[in-house]
């Protein structure tokens, strides 16, 4: 496989469907006739153009598995955002959206790369990791995967129902949630920020040499990545995607 890639060009896509994942999060399913395929973990750039020519660009992780027929991005509305409220609240099916991609080859996983996999997500950091999980499920990959997902509250867990279903149906997939601000009645899961004790209870031993992907707000990502290395994980096998300060929950 050749890593030289064709020039990244802006392409017009059409919004096919909008899915409300949580009150602040929408998935946009897109018709992208020029799309050349992607790897799980990659992102794309969206560009908006106002009538006076003003443009704004942002990057969004691709939520869909590479084998799916349509490219899907999942966007969290940031209150002060310039672009995200347009994507979550203004776009209708049938509207056009300019994008370019796929982008980024380091924070990616193909089932052929093996594992076991540790996936750690904070808030909207789940999006690129969901593409990996969906790809594993679609290809029935036997690679063992453990997902630790931190959210502020039960209602804010993105893809909650799908994760429950996949955890039940897909072999070698374990999903654990931690809810850091509020928990529903009867909640028996974790209820605090991810720390060393939680990781040690949940994740692979260092001798298993897992591949780790951590994605979400920068403080969470840095904390978890450091803990992984402290637990003996090889630093080059811990890959991070920091979303900055407003990367969603926690």
């Amino acid at each position: 496989m050749v890593a030289i890639r064709p020039r990244l060009a802006w392409q017009r896509t059409t919004v096919r469907e909008l899915i409300e994942e949580t009150p602040r999060v929408r998935s946009l399913v897109l018709d992208a006739p020029g799309w050349q395929g992607h790897s799980a973990g990659q992102h794309l750039d969206v560009r908006l153009t106002a009538e006076d020519g003003y443009q704004a660009e942002r990057s969004y992780s691709i939520a869909s598995a590479p084998v799916e027929p349509h490219v899907t991005i999942t966007v969290e509305r940031l209150d002060d955002g310039e672009v995200s409220p347009y994507l979550t609240d203004e776009l209708h099916p049938g509207d056009e959206l300019e994008l370019r991609g796929p982008i980024g080859g380091w924070f990616t996983w193909r089932p052929t790369e093996g594992g076991p996999l540790l996936l750690v997500a904070g808030g909207s950091g789940i999006v690129p990791l969901m593409a990996m999980i969906r790809q594993k499920a679609a290809l029935r990959s036997p690679v063992p995967v453990r997902l630790l997902y931190s959210s502020r509250a039960y209602e804010e867990i993105i893809f909650r129902e799908e994760l429950d279903r996949l955890a039940a149906e897909v072999g070698e997939l374990t999903v654990e949630h931690t809810l850091t601000r509020s928990q529903p009645e009867g909640w028996s899961g974790y209820n605090r920020r991810i720390d060393r004790a939680m990781l040690e209870e949940f994740t692979w031993a260092a001798e298993e040499r897992p591949l780790t992907f951590v994605c979400g707000p920068t403080p969470l990502v840095e904390s978890v990545a450091t803990l992984c290395v402290e637990m003996g994980y090889a630093p080059e096998r811990v890959k991070t995607e920091r979303f900055g300060p407003t990367g969603g929950a926690v």
């Binding site: 908006l48 310039e82 300019e98």
Partner: protein, 203 residues
């Protein structure tokens, strides 16, 4: 596809009309105070901090934090304009005027290079930091300047784009010849007048 693409219903940022006259071309008002850094936030303890003036000078000058606090201070309220297009009006700072710091300095230099913890630099003509145009400030809106905004102390030169107001400033080097600083070396305008929209080299 030759027709220009327009995103239906997308407005982008629009500024309030009453503030528009006080804004240089291309700027918009923000409520918060955005943080932008070229590197990690330095954390210099005050007992190790000093401010120096070196280079083309009769005798280098140096003040420790305590000595700096003893200098005559001013409280100033100014508008600030970032090259990334946000502006804030009526921001209040407290610090020491560069006129005070340069008061007894003998120099033939025409330029300064401000230098900061973490390696950041920015260059200015000497006349743009004298005559009541520049300060070393350590308080913002009545409270000690937060590290992410440049604390313990930063340069404040509000008549130019805000990248010239070097965060974490530790001194000035007086120079006979202009020397581009961190962003100036990467294609940003050497001077940076927001009212002439001098954002990039060649503007």
């Amino acid at each position: 596809m030759s027709d220009p693409f327009v995103s239906r219903g997308f407005q982008g940022r629009r500024q309030r009309a009453e503030a528009a006259q006080r804004l240089p071309p291309g700027q918009y008002l923000v409520e918060g105070f955005p943080v932008l850094s070229a590197g990690p936030t330095p954390r210099t303890p005050l007992d190790r901090w000093d401010f120096t003036i070196v280079g083309e000078i009769d005798q280098p000058r140096r003040w420790t934090w305590d000595e700096f606090q003893q200098l005559p201070h001013e409280t100033i309220t100014k508008d600030i304009h970032c090259v990334t297009k946000w502006s804030k009006l009526d921001t209040t700072w407290r610090g020491v005027s560069l006129d005070t710091l340069l008061k007894d300095v003998t120099t033939s230099a025409d330029y300064v290079l401000a230098f900061s913890d973490g390696g950041y630099t920015t260059n200015l003509p000497l006349e743009d930091v004298t005559g009541g145009k520049a300060w070393i400030v350590h308080e913002y809106e009545g409270a000690p300047l937060a590290p992410e905004h440049g604390g313990p102390a930063r340069l404040l030169v509000p008549h130019l784009y805000f990248w010239k107001s070097a965060k974490w400033v530790r001194g000035l080097r007086l120079l006979a010849h202009d020397e581009p600083g961190f962003w100036e070396s990467l294609g940003y305008n050497n001077y940076g007048d927001p009212w002439k929209e001098q954002r990039y080299a060649g503007d």
